[in-house]
């Protein structure tokens, strides 16, 4: 299969990106300044992320669609206001996670943002659940550009007037070069920011304007260190089909009303786990010293018993030290529990900590 390129490929090249293949796309891992500088620039100023590889799924329909989607997602979609978004997941019958996603109520139905590696299989799963009743478009005519960091609101507002007034986890249609673009106030870095859905042919122009206003392109490398510091999960690493939202400590994203009523895919397991607890759970892990514990690092308790595994681990530039997340047996999940991480044959001390590692600065909103 040919490796795909996003509409910003030429711009990435112009900005001297180093590329990697990610989910079938040629994506920038970093630019000339490197991951640490890009990370800090996003935290202190404003960074632009090409996330056009992610899926933008439009599903068109009315009340019946809302009812049908409630059988799939553990959300109270009936009460989701127009242009408001929720974080959720597509689960299997065992409540294992097929994908994590953002669903937004739009005028004609819903817009769902899906992970790049899962988007085609998600489409098939959803189409099957919805029995082909609704028009579904996995739109590859649109790019997705995220702009994140404290200066992003001013920078984007200079180009697209009015975006400043959006609340966190809500969106609206705006106009750029007489084209309709959909912008939500959201992101995945732990910073205030926006995600812009725009026709492919205008993506390059918009991005270049944002760069002119002082924002900079940021690669997938810094995207990973930013989201991990913010305690956010990466599908395929921290989340997969063998983990449930309760185990992933994402219970907050499940509507309380829906838990009491059940009747969504995986609800039996979710309800059981909420009532009876889980045997393993996702936690933050802070290694002592500078040693980095990466994905698949084994976690031991003080009696040298294997109690879990790291699912994401890196160096956090804003924390200025190593950070990690992983799953441990529930009894060892309490904050400040001392654990040991086996790196290159040696066990290194670490402690369970609360997430995020880096304090969020989202704008307040009606979420």
């Amino acid at each position: 299969m040919d490796i795909k390129k996003t509409p910003l490929y030429q711009l990435h090249q112009d900005c001297k990106a180093k590329f990697v293949e990610f989910a079938g796309y040629q994506m920038p891992i970093q630019y000339s300044e490197g991951i640490v500088e890009e990370h800090k620039f996003t935290r202190n100023h404003s960074g632009i992320f090409d996330v056009s590889h992610m899926g933008q799924l439009f599903i068109y329909g009315g009340e019946e669609l809302t009812q049908d989607l409630e059988k799939i997602f553990p959300l109270n979609l009936k009460n989701l206001k127009l242009n408001h978004s929720k974080y959720s997941f597509l689960m299997n019958e065992d409540a294992g996670i097929h994908d994590d996603l953002i669903i937004t109520k739009i005028n004609e139905g819903f817009l769902i943002i899906l992970n790049a590696a899962c988007k085609e299989s998600d489409f098939d799963i959803l189409k099957n659940f919805l029995k082909g009743k609704y028009k579904m478009i996995l739109d590859d005519n649109r790019s997705l550009i995220a702009i994140q960091g404290p200066k992003s609101s001013n920078i984007l507002n200079d180009v697209i007037d009015g975006v400043k007034d959006l609340n966190f986890m809500s969106g609206n249609w705006f106009s750029f070069e007489n084209q309709k673009i959909y912008i939500t106030r959201s992101g995945y870095t732990g910073e205030d920011g926006f995600e812009i859905s725009i026709l492919n042919s205008f993506a390059d122009k918009l991005t270049r304007e944002l760069i002119k206003k002082g924002s900079k392109l940021i690669g997938l490398g810094a995207r990973d260190t930013l989201r991990l510091e913010a305690g956010l999960c990466l599908y395929g690493h921290d989340l997969d089909k063998d983990k449930t939202p309760v185990e992933a400590n994402l219970k907050w994203a499940i509507s309380k009303e829906r838990i009491s009523k059940g009747d969504f895919i995986g609800s039996d397991i979710i309800i059981k786990q909420i009532n009876n607890g889980v045997s393993k759970i996702r936690v933050g892990i802070k290694p002592e010293g500078r040693i980095i514990a990466r994905e698949k690092t084994k976690i031991f308790n003080q009696s040298d018993v294997h109690i879990g595994e790291i699912t994401s681990g890196t160096f956090g530039p804003s924390v200025n030290g190593p950070v990690a997340m992983g799953y441990v047996e529930n009894q060892f999940s309490k904050k400040n529990t001392r654990v040991y991480l086996e790196v290159r044959g040696k066990k290194h001390p670490a402690s369970i900590c609360s997430l995020p590692f880096y304090k969020k600065s989202y704008v307040k909103g009606a979420n």
């Binding site: 490197g34 991951i35 640490v36 500088e37 490398g221 260190t225 500078r290 990466r294 160096f315 530039p317």
Partner: protein, 126 residues
Amino acid sequence: MSEVKYSKEHEWIKLEGDVATVGITKHATEMLGDIVFAELPEKGSNVEKDGTAGVVESTKAASDVYTPVSGEVVDTNQAIVDDPSKINQDPENSAWFFKLKIKDPSEMDALMNREDYDKFAKETSS
């Protein structure tokens, strides 16, 4: 004048008398990206030619550091452990990794000179 040679694993080695200073090349640091962690061999330990003698980690991944020749570790550069970003800043000078009392000077013969290394680095990265 002291002699600097280069290995296919992108280490440089500078021999002065029977003590060799080892570090990683600028080309290596450019491939690795931002270095955020460094681990060095223990002083007094013996390392074998082409064996691992340390680790560097970037934000992306961990990589072993090899020793191009055998010898006893007589000194290590704690400054790069305390601040690994020094390795990106000055890899072929102040950010050296360790010093070895070498066993067999002839092990130096098989290593590359600067010109050959630059050619090698260019070929392998393209």
